[in-house]
Symmetry: C2
Subunit: 443 residues, 2 copies
């Protein structure tokens, strides 16, 4: 019995070792895997066989001559079978992304909904319908969704999946995970944390940066040597409530003069003279039936599973999104209108961005003084707004930090925009499958 358990543990470890190497190297022969891992060739062949059978690995068709012995067929991570879903509840939209094991984005769906008007139960109902229809679509393309993560704009107890506080949704102590009924394991996590992981795995590929998620709320995720820094209780990265001016306008968090009140989406639109969009009552909360009828839902699907060898998983450079910084993805009509006004040179709109960029620079100067990140990546709505705020942010940072530091962290634009959180959510499941494939094989 003990020996059987030991054997299982060793097999799990070796499966992870082999899949990890395949994932990191892109494509590799069994002989090379044996050499890299130090495992016997027969053991490697057996493990690779199991991974192929489970749909995690696939033969490339490319034969390489070995240094010694027979030539061998290269294998790589398969994008054909295993997939994960990333879900997001944000203040003014819901989103779902399906990502395959090669980290190619296979399905994306966003649905504008004003969730400030809805009870958690209502929001979950709509989200669940959205998620299940996306999963059905994935199944139709031959994918099997093995797990998911739900991103929410608030502080989350990771162990229980309870949202402690999401001030912009007006939610407190909502046991979100237990309300969700999906046919595979789910977790709930903070939106800004997941967006930072999304940037790590699907973005520019830096291992050290602070990712800023501009939404109705403003959050941040600090990545240190490729790992998310969560803090002692898991509530790090609440950049939106860093003090810009202690006597400033009151914030939903109970404080005053928080960054969110200067640079959050609502504050930005108001300052630009664009009231945050008042959604019509019937659009506020869509029922499942309405959503199924396609009401208010944008969706797109990328078919053609195996176009992804260049998305060599494991290095964070592969991404399959294509339209990250464009004006279309995820953000609501308010930001689209703001972008139109900015393009037209509207002075109020330009001044609003100047003010938001200054406030971001102030809050980020505090962040740099405290955590000294490698670079700063502006994401969420700041991605499409980058041409109008990036410069002011850099100027403000340089004015405050330039004398103390030889190098002021550079301020870059995210290629993912508002999609980062759902991609990070799905990516977290993929990461886990790669790290422990035995859990999937034995399930």
């Amino acid at each position: 019995m003990t020996q059987a358990i030991r054997h299982d543990a060793m097999r799990a470890r070796n499966l992870a070792l082999v899949l990890g190497e395949v994932s990191t190297r892109g494509s590799v022969t069994r002989a090379a895997l044996a050499e890299i891992t130090g495992l016997a060739k027969t053991t490697v062949s057996k493990l690779v066989g199991d991974l192929i059978e489970a749909g995690l690995v696939i033969e490339t068709g490319i034969v390489r001559a070995g240094e010694r012995g027979r030539p061998g067929m290269e294998v790589r991570v398969s994008g054909r079978r295993i997939a994960a879903i990333g879900l997001e509840i944000n203040v003014d939209y819901l989103a779902a992304h399906v990502v395959d094991l090669t980290r190619s984005v296979r399905l994306r769906r966003t649905q504008p909904v004003d969730n400030r008007m809805g009870s958690p139960g209502d929001v979950i109902t709509i989200l669940q319908d959205l998620a299940l229809s996306v999963v059905d679509e994935a199944v139709d393309t031959g994918l099997r969704v093995v797990g998911g993560v739900l991103a929410v704009p608030g502080t989350v107890d990771l162990a229980t999946g309870t949202v402690h506080s999401a001030p912009n949704l007006g939610w407190r102590d909502v046991p979100l995970l237990s309300m969700l009924r999906m046919p595979f394991p789910m977790r709930v996590d903070n939106e800004a944390n997941l967006a930072a992981l999304g940037e790590l795995w699907f973005g520019a590929g830096h291992p050290d940066f602070l990712h800023v998620s501009g939404e109705i709320g403003v959050g941040a995720g600090l990545i240190v040597r490729g790992e998310l820094f969560r803090g002692f209780r898991g509530f790090a990265g609440e950049l939106g409530h860093v003090v810009v001016s202690p006597g400033g306008p009151p914030c939903r968090c109970g404080g005053h003069g928080c960054l969110e009140r200067y640079a959050g989406q609502d504050a930005l639109l108001s300052a630009a003279g664009l009231a945050p969009p008042e959604t019509a009552p019937e659009e506020r909360l869509l029922t499942g039936a309405e959503r199924s009828a396609g009401h208010g839902t944008e969706h797109s699907a990328e078919h053609g599973a195996e176009h992804g060898t260049e998305h060599s998983a494991g290095h964070g450079t592969g991404h399959g999104t294509g339209h990250g910084t464009g004006h279309s993805a995820g953000h609501g009509t308010g930001v689209t209108e703001l972008l139109r006004e900015l393009d037209a040179g509207n002075r109020d709109a330009l001044a609003a961005c100047e003010r938001a960029g200054w406030a971001l620079g102030i809050a980020l100067s505090s962040a740099v003084n405290l955590v000294d990140p490698g670079t700063i990546v502006l994401g969420g709505i700041y991605a499409p707004l980058f041409p109008w705020i990036g410069g002011v942010v850099t100027e403000t940072l340089t004015a405050r930090l330039g004398q103390m530091r030889e190098v002021v962290p550079s301020v870059e634009v995210s290629r993912l925009g508002t999609e980062a959180a759902t991609l990070g959510a799905a990516g977290q499941v993929i990461q886990q499958v790669i790290a422990d494939p035995a859990a999937l094989l034995n399930a």
Copy 2:
């Protein structure tokens, strides 16, 4: 040859293993060490013998019956031979501490000097005389100082020991390490980082906290699971330059409204109507000869080396300071005067502390939002001032954070006060000896 190198590497690893266990456990028999480490009893006996001979370990005289076999004598880390020196250049004082291998403080010396008036060369000359006389005193008690670390209030390039910027000293790009001539290896590090490590090893023993060093400048060190978080370029923890109010008074760093301008020692004294003490010209910079004559130097020595078994190294609970929160240690005459005025109920002094505490609360609310520390420990001059600022800090934090977080980090007082940095500096060398005793044995 390769085999000899391998043998040396294995011996180094085993020496570290054995000394680490002795350090963690306080006292332990050779038989128990063999059981814990899995090494052969003869190997353990040989290693313990080498550690005893080098003065790192000592027999306690206590004999324990083994579960099997003969009774054995317990050994523990020795405080009799190996020691480290912690040095500090601060704005208004110099300090030196000698700490032995059990983390007992053996010698402490502080010397009030206004270093704002001095060139780095002059300051180093005085510091070196102070350090060498302390080392001589240590040698007289049978100790061998094997290394040291120098704490400075500025950003430091750890690799070269160059101070990039110490605004309160007026120093830029000073190659401090290369200017220091000591008869053992030295390093240079940031004062606030070392103070946090001092709190970790000599303080209350939390593994997760943010330590705030109140001096003329204000710094912080974040300890995460017993490790110092340094940031990407090593410049994390600059709490003194976190924004309290962006339109506030100009700061030496080039910014405006930094915490330091509200809660740094000079700002606090000015607000209390106590001008920062104008040192008389002849006291500004003492020459080596003057210092040797005992001019302006406070010193104390704790003899009686082996009183330290309860200071079981490795858990951070042992400390031999005794007068950490008193009004005497390290801080200058200005703070002593402020404390007198506070005791007397002086309104300006009370209002100054109220304002400093509020500003600290604002900056710390940003810090908690960003890094979510376990607890907050107020050190440096905030330790003696804690009765007058601790309450306001907690109130301000709770008002800003209470709605978003179930638990607002508690605000505690450091038992070490302004001694934390020098203790952390010496402790870092001790830590290194425990982690790699072979380096010392082979030297």
